[in-house]
């Protein structure tokens, strides 16, 4: 296998068309393993179980982890994929339980799929070693009959934050046996808990600790993180304990190559590069044909299905053996059993290639792969490293290729390898004191246990409690806050997104009636509208009927030469203005808005050529979201507004559009979020302000502070955006700056020039 890759690497290096697109080629040399003996005081049963599995020595960091935990310190393990971190927490936990079977442990994994995988691997060690430790999964899928058993007898409970939040903590008296003896809390993949999810998680852990102290225990936290810029800071903010960091690891690593690849320009004027879908497909086919196990990471569900379909199409030559190569697609929304089958196929080698969304980025065990192709920059550097880490074994050579799309972020990454390979990837950021999230968890924690006034919960809980008291949901008396509302607060709080409603996808071809997947409601409107082409594991389905009330979509298998893309119409309404500020450039408004979006049309796009071959009309109900927005008003008396007034209608439209596009791409660097967390809307004549306006709004209902943060950073965002447009090599605007020139709009002037002239004048005045 290694030889096959070496051959491929040599061929790539000798291929000038390929090398022309390579902006950087990094070789990471192999490293030897550093080992340590099994700890002398290791429980004999555990020692036997390990030896049965063929483990007679540990990697140095595994042994160290044992020691730290045995010393009673909280631990944070920061190691790359496939370095044996599971054993780092399993060893000390199992050892403690074997010594004292009364002890219990809680394992938290960010996804449900992961907890199943974890149980599988733990079960193996239990079966082979006959360790008398009872491991139980407790999540949404656990049947009621097993729940009581899990509560009463599970020594290791495997769950996820959502279940802890809505099922376990609010019912803690039922878990009294468990909590009284809880000794360890393992939080795996702690780097996932960033942003909104992380802010929730930190509060869930606060609640957990309150319950633990009520039952008189203070469990040790063992966390693991992938490589991010600030693992210790992130970990500390989540568990709020002093963590001992273990960042060096002793696992052997094979040689690794990482290539940054910028697809060739096909249109220099419009700045259009070859698409990331087609380039990734070509590269994947090249490796698969050579018998190399390959994973492709796509950025969206549609891309996942498209790339998988194209690859299969290319391998379908009946005259060669290539059609035997099995390539699967893998993404959220598949049924759990389907996912398990694909994971199993990857482990046992019956599946040679997989195209996946970031759903496979997490620690699901799929065995070693040789090549990882990142079809587009996954949004963050740590995520890119996680995905690249999917290729690689303890021995032998592996390769990861980042194929850049034309988005500004991607272009920046491939053109700045120093940034990419620099030692610090992004920092995970969270704000447990986000007023919305914090308030939600204060409600939950008071429900779980009355809060004494002198008791702490987070930074500054008293004002929140007073607010809740005013609303009548809690009652303060005798220096204690009591829950005084009939509701069950955890029910209304989702840790991940606002909508937990899913639409079920039913295949009704030829009278079949089979569930093939599910999708969240807002996405369903954009992907499962009537007559949409829905791609699922490489098969094409046409949506026959979408019933949002019954939450079901009926689809029928078809064979067509196009896919569909929804066109979303958006309408905004200002509900409440909280503050207005005169900035250096704009008049800035922060407040509440109502965003109504509706899918009114869809495009039919031909496979391979990606040209639009037709449109269809739709009438779907609107989706409403109440959120926070920062609005830039180009009013009279502001610099931006005065210059704006001197432009003609066509230029005005273009300027707003250009600025909106670039700001949205640049803002994530300052706000520590992703472009998709921000919504943008341009209004030439805004009905509320009576002036031109640019709306930036939080895509998380209720807002998470992005609007306020946007306002704070607006000048920095503006100047960085202006710089990006000026330095872009395109002539008329391209996807990497203000967006490509749209031929349908018949703009007569060069849009980039219009924008630059406006910016120049704005600069001159300031």
């Amino acid at each position: 296998m290694s030889e096959d890759i070496r051959t491929q690497l040599n061929e790539l290096q000798a291929d000038p068309t390929f090398m022309d697109c390579v902006t950087h080629w990094e070789r990471i040399p192999p490293r030897e393993g550093v080992y340590a003996d099994l700890p002398a005081d290791l429980h004999p049963t555990l020692r036997r179980a390990l030896e049965d599995l063929g483990i007679s020595r540990l990697y140095s960091h595994q042994e160290k982890a044992c020691r730290i935990v045995r010393d009673g310190k909280h631990l944070l393990i920061v190691t790359p994929t496939a370095s044996g971190k599971t054993l780092c927490y399993n060893l000390p936990v199992l050892q403690s339980i074997l010594e004292d079977p009364g002890k219990r442990a809680l394992y938290l994994f960010p996804t449900k799929a992961l907890s199943q995988d974890q149980q599988a691997s733990l079960n193996v060690s239990i079966l082979t070693g006959r360790l008398p430790v009872k491991v139980m999964t407790y999540d949404g899928d656990t049947p009621a009959s097993l729940r009581t058993v899990a509560r009463e007898t599970g020594q290791i409970i495997i769950s996820n934050p959502d279940m802890l939040h809505s099922g376990i903590l609010p019912n803690h008296p039922k878990w009294i046996k468990f909590f009284r003896t809880l000794s360890f809390v393992v939080i795996d993949e702690i780097h996932i808990y960033r942003g909104v999810f992380g802010s929730h998680m930190a509060n869930v852990i606060r609640r957990l600790k309150r319950i633990c102290s009520f039952y008189g225990v203070s469990p040790l936290f063992i966390c693991s993180s992938a490589t991010i810029g600030n693992p210790l800071e992130l970990g500390t903010r989540i568990v709020e304990e002093q963590l001992e960091v273990l960042a060096e690891h002793g696992a052997p690593m094979g040689e690794k190559h990482i290539i940054l690849y910028n697809p060739p320009l096909v249109d220099r004027v419009q700045g259009i590069r070859r698409g990331v879908v087609l380039e990734s497909e070509r590269l994947a086919v090249r490796f698969l044909k050579a018998g190399i196990k390959t994973i492709v990471f796509a950025r969206s569900r549609i891309h996942t299905e498209l790339i998988a379909t194209y690859i299969r199409g290319r391998l379908q030559n009946v005259y060669t053996d290539n059609h035997r190569i099995r390539v699967e697609s893998y993404r959220g929304g598949y049924l759990p059993l389907e996912r398990r089958t694909i994971e199993e196929g990857l482990r046992n080698g019956t599946v040679q290639g997989v195209v996946a969304t970031n759903a496979l980025e997490l620690g699901i065990d799929i065995g070693g792969l040789d090549v990882a192709i990142l079809a587009g920059f996954p949004g963050s550097i740590s995520s890119a490293w996680q995905q690249a880490g999917r290729a690689g074994r303890r021995q032998g050579v592996s390769l990861a290729i980042l194929v850049a799309s034309s988005s500004p972020l991607d272009q920046f990454m491939v053109k700045n390898p120093d940034y990419f390979f620099g030692r610090s990837p992004e920092e995970g950021f969270l704000d447990p004191e986000n007023p919305y999230i914090y308030t939600d968890h204060v409600r939950c924690t008071v429900f779980e246990l009355p809060l004494r006034q002198e008791e702490a919960f987070g930074k500054d809980v008293v004002p929140i409690l007073d607010q809740l008291e005013e609303l009548g949901t809690i009652r303060r008396t005798q220096r204690t806050y009591y829950w005084s509302d009939r509701s069950y607060p955890a029910e209304g709080v989702s840790l991940r997104s606002a909508s937990s409603e899913n639409v079920v996808i039913l295949d009704i071809t030829g009278g079949r009636n089979r569930v093939i997947g599910e999708m969240d409601r807002p996405s369903a409107k954009e992907l499962l509208f009537p007559n949409a082409v829905y791609l699922h594991r490489g098969l094409q389905y046409m949506v026959k009927h979408l019933d949002l009330e019954q939450k079901r979509a009926e689809v029928e298998e078809v064979e067509v030469n196009y896919y569909t893309d929804a066109i979303v119409k958006r309408d905004l309404k200002v509900l409440l203005v909280d503050e207005e500020t005169e900035g250096a450039l704009f008049h800035m408004v922060v407040g509440d808005i109502l965003v109504r979006s509706q899918v009114t049309k869809f495009k039919k796009i031909r496979f391979h050529s990606h040209e639009t071959i037709g449109y269809g009309e739709l009438s779907l109900p609107e989706e409403e979201m109440h959120t926070r927005s920062c609005i830039l008003v180009f009013g009279k008396g502001t610099k931006a507004g005065e210059i704006f007034q001197t432009r003609n209608e066509e230029e005005k439209t273009q300027i707003l559009l250009s600025l909106g596009t670039v700001y949205r791409q640049i803002a994530p660097f300052y706000l520590l979020c992703e472009p998709r967390d921000i919504g943008v809307s341009e209004r030439l004549r805004d009905p509320h302000f009576g002036e031109p306006a640019l709306y930036f709004f939080d895509q998380y209902p209720g807002g998470t502070g992005l609007a306020e943060s946007f306002k704070k950073h607006v000048s920095a965002i503006h100047y960085a955006s202006a710089e990006l447009i000026r330095s872009c090599p395109c002539a008329e605007g391209c996807p990497s700056c203000i967006g490509p020139r749209d031929p349908q709009r018949e703009v007569t002037r060069n849009p980039k020039e219009v924008t630059l002239r406006y910016l120049a004048e704005l600069d001159g005045m300031s």
């Binding site: 008071v446 004002p463 303060r476 204690t480 509302d485 009939r486």
Partner: protein, 379 residues
């Protein structure tokens, strides 16, 4: 949703002044008329309701105790709770607990009221002292097995008190068996209306009760809390009358409109066998297939074959389950193989499930063999 951050900021400003002012702590000297202080936060009311001299209440309840719990009337204790929420979880508090006990001198209702959250531990302790939580007491509730009792237990655990143990009979289960088919739901108000034929002139809907309590806590609003207390007492009394009805039905099972008489017969057969089986027999005679099956099987085990035969005869071509019982009788007891053959043949022509037909075939084969053997012997 105004800017929460700003509002919190404002609150923080005024916090220092408010700090000294302890929030409205409501500890009334008196509660409602008829209530006595029973601790710092706990109030109690004991009410004795004389018995209607014409009614059979005492007798019915004694029979209920006898047939359902094999105990005497003085061991019975009905209980019910009112809570601050309906979905359970650690934040749901019991603020009103009541029991009813009945003796020849009347019905005694005791209600215990928690006047504010800090008194919960005391309230729970008072309950331990006043409620006859003993091994001989039999508690009766409505959905208490799934709701009230687990919640009560949770409250004790939260205050690090050991929860009482309760032997209880959940009347909801009995009601479900007897009335599920005819009632829109088995909630207590529905049962009151359609089974006990009781109408409450004014009543507060159960789902509004938590709100009333919170308003009482906040503003000391007493008027509406009266309604809750009345509601709670009415619920307890309904439970007593419901159990009386069940007791009378065990003593003398009878057809009542809306009542599932088959279920009643089966229930009575285990509780009061003599009357219960007689009732089932009546049902069987009138062609109730379940009753026919059960009664004829019972006749067989008691050796009353002829009685069973008489009972079945009108229905052997109507219900297959009856025919099967008759086939066994004809073949093994009467040894009337010809009659058995004829009956089996009749059912072979009906549209029965395959496994049943296979069994029937075997039976026919066996019968044929027996007939030919008989003929041989006869010759």
């Amino acid at each position: 949703m105004a800017d929460l951050r700003a509002r919190l900021e404002a609150l923080r400003q005024t916090l220092k002044e408010r700090e000294k002012k302890e929030a409205p702590f409501f500890q009334p000297k008196h509660f409602l008329e008829g209530w006595e202080r029973f601790g710092e936060y706990t109030f109690r009311r004991i009410e004795r309701i004389p018995l209607d001299p014409d009614a059979n209440l005492l007798l019915d309840l004694q029979d209920g105790a006898k047939y359902f719990l094999s105990c005497s009337l003085d061991q019975l204790c009905w209980y019910d709770t009112e809570t601050t929420g309906l979905s359970g979880g650690a934040g749901t508090v019991i603020f009103l607990f009541g029991i009813a006990q009945v003796s020849s001198s009347g019905i005694m209702v005791q209600q215990f009221f928690l006047s504010d959250f800090p008194g919960e531990a005391e309230f729970l302790t008072r309950l331990l002292e006043s409620i006859p939580f003993s091994a001989t007491t039999r508690f009766l509730s409505y959905n208490g097995a799934a709701y009230d009792f687990p919640l009560l237990k949770t409250r004790y655990l939260l205050h690090r008190l050991s929860p009482p143990s309760m032997h209880q009979l959940d009347l909801l289960y009995l009601v479900r068996r007897l009335w599920k088919k005819s009632l829109p739901d088995c909630s207590l108000p529905t049962v009151e209306r359609f089974v006990l034929h009781k109408e409450r002139s004014i009543d507060i809907p159960g789902r509004l009760i938590p709100q009333v309590y919170f308003q009482y806590l906040r503003w000391g609003a007493l008027d509406e809390i009266k309604g809750v207390i009345q509601h709670h007492k009415d619920d307890l009394l309904s439970l007593v009358y419901l159990f009386a009805l069940l007791g009378s039905l065990m003593r003398e099972p009878m057809n009542i409109e809306g009542l599932d008489s088959t279920a009643l017969g089966l229930m009575a057969a285990t509780r009061n066998p003599i009357k219960g089986w007689k009732f089932l027999e009546e049902l069987a005679k009138n062609g109730n297939p379940v009753a026919l099956e059960r009664v004829s099987r019972r006749f067989r085990t008691e050796g009353k074959d002829e009685e069973g035969h008489r009972l079945r005869t009108p229905y052997i071509k109507v219900f297959f389950s009856v025919a099967l019982e008759e086939l066994k009788h004809l073949e093994h007891v009467r040894k009337d193989y010809e009659a058995a053959m004829e009956l089996a043949q009749f059912w072979m022509n009906k549209d029965l499930p395959i496994p049943v037909r296979v069994d029937l075939c075997r039976r026919l084969e066996r019968l044929r063999n027996k007939i030919s053997t008989l003929k041989l012997v006869g010759n």
